[in-house]
């Protein structure tokens, strides 16, 4: 009887198991259409610096990445009184580099080339479409992998995951 009882418990364990549920914050991609992406780089008035990333120092000017949004243009002629002069919208942008007169940035999966000879008034030189990987997500966990549409950002999503220790 003891053996039968043990077997019963064992079966109960196997069939039901000790499940534990966790809420995990993951990243889910934000898409835009390819057409919108190709027309997404604009030169607008200065925006506040909220989530700054990579810094490029070119002459007296600084170009500071606003994560997933674009690039701030800062006149740093006087480092004690820098002036935020303009913003380059570039959805999905996380990286860039520059020579004295040319700025190269990612705009989601596109490579965008900008003339910065007059840094306060950049202009578009060239766009190479779909040559770069999807911009990285801010979290370790990714809820699902993006499809072929351009990813310009990520939002948090809470996923309830059930953990089955007994398999």
């Amino acid at each position: 009887m003891k053996v039968a009882f043990l077997l019963c418990i064992l079966m109960a364990l196997v069939s039901v198991g000790c499940t534990t549920n966790y809420n995990v914050v993951e990243s889910a991609p934000d898409y835009i259409t390819a057409d919108s992406l190709h027309n997404s780089v604009h030169f607008i008035a200065a925006n506040p610096i909220i989530q700054p990333g990579k810094i490029l120092s070119i002459g007296n000017f600084l170009f500071i990445n606003e994560l997933y949004k674009g690039w701030h243009v800062i006149d740093n002629t006087s480092p004690s009184a820098p002036i935020n002069v303009a913003f380059i919208t570039a959805p999905g942008s996380l990286d860039g580099t520059a020579t004295q007169s040319v700025l190269y940035i990612n705009n989601s999966v596109d490579l965008v080339v900008l003339n910065i000879s007059d840094p306060a008034h950049p202009s578009l030189i060239r766009r190479l479409e779909s040559v770069l990987p999807v911009p990285a997500s801010p979290h370790t966990s990714v809820s699902y992998y993006p499809n072929s549409a351009p990813v310009v950002g990520w939002h948090d999503t809470t996923v309830n995951i059930t953990f089955y220790p007994m398999g």
Binding site: N23, I50, Q51, S80, Y104, P133
Partner: protein, 249 residues
């Protein structure tokens, strides 16, 4: 069956039933890769290295993808010195002369380096528990090491030697200016090392109030630091005592 044994079995049964009926909901887990930028894009004015390709930019309006490629997928950072391209890739530093098919590869002696600083003959890189790896996403390293590693390497032997390891708290970025090495070390703040002897980095100063994710040195002895508070600038004419210059948001 004895009464005590019977009770024990009932207790086990109750535990099993209780376990299967109630599901514990753990706290939300939030794994963040702070300051989620990679340092892939780099240029020497003639060549542009991006996340996935190497371009000739003699004519900036017409970047030409070079057939050599740069194999950056899986890497974490890249930089060009003269005509050499260095690519960090999860524990090794590959090196090639741009425009040739030479692919010597240094084995960096540590896994999961994050950002690097370069001085002729030496590499200074950060290891961080949360690193930005993979071609697209942020991953968690399997180890939990936070440290500065110093590697010496030679272009002729393609061999790297680990010279020094310095434990850190939560490093995010690194920059070098002659013999001064700057490390943004999370809540520990900015650490400034004297690396005139690369095998013996010595901590010159710590500025706990200077915290941020990204750093850049300018030609004017200015250290730029970005954080959630905006852009801060510090005068580093005296590297061991960075002086606050300005802040902009």
């Amino acid at each position: 069956m004895g009464k005590a044994t019977n009770s024990l079995f009932m207790l086990i049964l109750a535990a099993v039933c209780g376990c299967s009926q109630s599901t514990a909901t753990g706290p939300a887990q939030y794994n963040s890769c702070n300051g989620n930028s990679k340092y892939f894009f780099t240029t020497n004015g003639t060549w542009l290295s991006t996340t996935s390709s190497l371009y000739s930019i003699v004519d900036p309006s017409n970047p030409l993808s070079h057939s050599q490629g740069n194999d950056l997928y899986g890497g974490d950072t890249a930089f060009i010195v003269d005509t050499n391209l260095y690519v960090e890739n999860n524990g090794s530093i590959s090196f090639r002369t741009i425009g040739t098919q030479t692919y010597p590869q240094y084995e960096a002696l540590s896994a999961y380096p994050r950002h690097l600083a370069f001085a002729p003959g030496y590499l200074y890189f950060l290891r961080h528990t949360t690193y930005l790896g993979g071609s697209q996403f942020c991953w968690q390293a399997s180890d939990s090491v936070n440290e500065l590693d110093v590697d010496q390497f030679s272009d002729t032997s393609y061999a790297a030697t680990l010279l020094a390891r310095v434990p850190l708290t939560d490093p995010d970025d690194i920059a070098i200016d002659n013999s001064s090495l700057f490390v943004l070390d999370g809540v520990s703040g900015l650490k400034i090392f004297n690396v005139s002897s690369p095998s013996h980095p010595s901590l010159m100063a710590t500025a706990p109030n200077i915290q941020g994710y990204h750093m850049q040195l300018t030609d004017q002895s200015t250290l730029l630091v970005t954080s959630d508070s905006g852009l801060m600038q510090y005068d580093i004419s005296n590297p061991s005592n960075p002086a606050f210059v300005s802040k902009i948001q």
